[in-house]
Subunit: 319 residues, 3 copies
């Protein structure tokens, strides 16, 4: 590990735009070791014993919060949950003061989800513990981006030259942004498709990124499809006509899947609206890696916690 | 342990209807060992170290959730709480997808409470981790049934021929159902009494089960009384006239207790409405085993976790 | 440790009025050892392994609850959170029955916050596990009082003869009460200042306690200032005219701070309303020990848990 002298020790994980391909590779290699631990009968290594990690979630989440909590516990860390919904103090107190409080308690890493873009980066300016961004507004969700790359590597054994298609509400999606950054770094082509009202304009000029009006066009010869979750409130805001219309024109179903390569990989960040952005047949079908993504998410988060807190050496020796 | 080659390893704990008397005995014997651990100065054995358990609660609960959480922690397991009230994802996502997600995270057992009858059984069809039913609608609450049996054994040293009386809203009670299955398996006679509107009809024909209109009649010569909690919303639904009326006609008080055997045991699944279904004098009186039931609940849940996850051998050796 | 044969083993921590100066000194000395542990790379000692602690919070709290949770975990205890907001059972059940339930589960200590004065003391009459009061109405918040003393000792190296000023809503503040008791025990002079409507009358006659109408008068030559949080609901109740008016007349700003001694220490129990009771310049300025207080809070709570559960001997040897 740490080949080419790459180390992530002490690095804040804010977004994949600041990762080099070598750093991404280091995370993926470490995640593979972590995945082996998850498959053991005794899923416990003492690497992070005596380290404490806070899950600071200003937006509700089960999936990501639980994934980080398990990742920390599998590694022997103490994990504390602080969620805005159950905490009046967090609500009343400024973000700065909450962060200073957590730092003062002797915490080693803060995993943070916040509705404001840049919140995680702001945190790095206020406190010293390592910050892991678990989603900041529409900006970034780097652990999701990394677990998507890890899933692609697992099935495709390479990145270079692969055609990825991201379907749906790219405009508001931090998952899409992190995927695009990560996929481009690793040499993939990225195609975006969905309602025009949900496509980003800022990316039109970037090399290797293509925007399509019709998803059929985008899907042709795709190696990887990431189908984003549609937030139902977008419809109320008039960004697409009806859920039925959406499913008809943009939903990922068997017919559309047939346009892609025969060994195409289907991903979804979850939770799914089955029958809306994805049909149940595709969601649970032979091409779906959706459940594998969840397991890979735990492995990626274990890898990041180890790499930023210890540098990643001697994973099983620190008992 | 495991005498007569009985083993519960990998068994889903859905309801007591599928338990043999030998299996129940194995659980009770193991629970006795667990209770000894609770009484130690250092309440910790490493038997389930490296195992992870999720408390997936779709209905609010403190008592049962905490009991399982402590049971897991006393045994060295990692315990993760996922409750619908603090989790928007759980709400928006289908039960199937939530279960698949938990499975993918590498969890060994899922403890599940859900308002729908059969939810726990459904879960066993969807995922591989062992399912422990912590209450599914009005269907079953098997760990409560087992802790009630464990409490009876502690005080009575036998089951065969004992007369149990279950008082109150039997119709809507998963506790009553699990008690009835368990008590009948172990050779007890079961008498049910309460408002006619709250008595089940489906049990009229079963051998060994008797339904009474007047609770005085039911209480005569009782060895064990289980006084169920009255849900106040039943009154709004018109199932009984008023709480005052209920207490007067069906409440368990000293006068009624005197109709039972001199050494009668009083149980209640909690939380109690004191002054409604049970008087404070009875609740805290000499016959009450209500607090003991709580401790026995932790012991039963420890026993079940060990038995389903390890088979129960070498409880203290796996360090 | 335990010099002069002082021991807190088994002592309920209800309020500082019942502490002797020797007992306070023992807590502060132990907290210093604990603080060293927090600064280690591996923040974990196994002293409380096999002990279980419940955080029973009937009022919302992040800061104090998290501080106790980390304190317990750094010492190897199992910590269970039971908060009224996420628990319907706790709400429906009497305090007595909830306490009996927790006791029955084999818990060693109950950390309790409740809106009613005397709730923690009541708990000691109902159950045997040690009770640690984390705030009972306007009565007491002893761990805050102790962490304030610990912070003063850290910076001033003594208590005797120091002049402390407590600013703001003393009348409704459990922090103020615990500070006053603790500071007086240790030989400090206590000056109170704020709106007349928020000053306590019951203390007018006590020796060593002085009430001022103008905070400028109180601040003269102060060694220590504790600036209390203003609850905004007090204004609605008509106890002070407007937040702007409050800040102008009673807010702690640089100009007022200049009235105190040159090495004055500024404390605040948090969370702060910056710009109301304290200016941001003072809050983050050179005199502020506010973040240090948070860390000292974890150390004090570790010290108390160890002292009441083990007596405090052989802190690192019990593995």
């Amino acid at each position: 590990m740490g080949k080419n002298n790459v180390s992530l020790r002490g690095k804040n994980i804010l977004g994949l735009e600041s990762f080099s391909p070598e750093e991404i590779s280091l995370v993926l290699e470490t995640a593979q070791e972590m995945k082996n631990i998850i498959h053991r009968d005794i899923k416990k290594v003492p690497t992070l014993r005596g380290k404490s990690v806070v899950n600071l979630f200003y937006e509700p989440s089960t999936r990501t919060r639980t994934s980080f909590e398990l990742a920390g516990k599998y590694l022997g860390a103490d994990v504390i949950n602080m969620t805005a919904s159950t905490s009046s103090v967090v609500k009343g107190e400024s973000l700065r003061d909450t962060l200073l409080t957590i730092e003062a308690m002797g915490v080693d890493a803060i995993i943070m989800r916040h509705k404001a873009e840049g919140a995680a980066e702001y945190a790095t300016k206020v406190v010293e513990p390592v910050i892991l961004n678990a989603g900041d507004g529409a900006h970034a969700h780097p652990t999701q981006g990394l677990l998507d790359l890890f899933t692609i590597m697992q099935y495709k054994k390479k990145f270079q030259g692969l055609k990825a298609v991201i379907l749906g509400d790219v405009l508001h999606s931090r998952v899409a942004r992190s995927d695009i950054w990560g996929m481009r770094k690793m040499g993939m082509e990225v195609h975006l498709a969905g309602p025009k009202t949900l496509m980003p304009r800022f990316l039109f000029e970037e090399p290797g990124i293509y925007i399509h009006d019709r998803i059929e066009e985008a899907l042709e010869n795709a190696d990887v499809i990431n189908c984003l979750r549609i937030q139902l409130e977008r419809q109320k805001a008039g960004l697409f006509p009806s859920t039925r219309e959406y499913a008809r024109i943009f939903g990922l179903n068997d017919a559309r899947l047939a346009l892609a390569k025969k060994d195409v990989l289907v991903m979804h960040p979850g939770p799914m609206n089955k029958g809306l952005e994805i049909s149940p047949y595709v969601a649970y079908g032979a091409h779906s890696a959706i459940q594998e993504q969840v397991q890979n998410g735990v492995a990626i988060r274990m890898a990041l916690l180890i790499l930023v807190l210890t540098g990643g050496k001697n994973i099983e020796a620190n008992s």
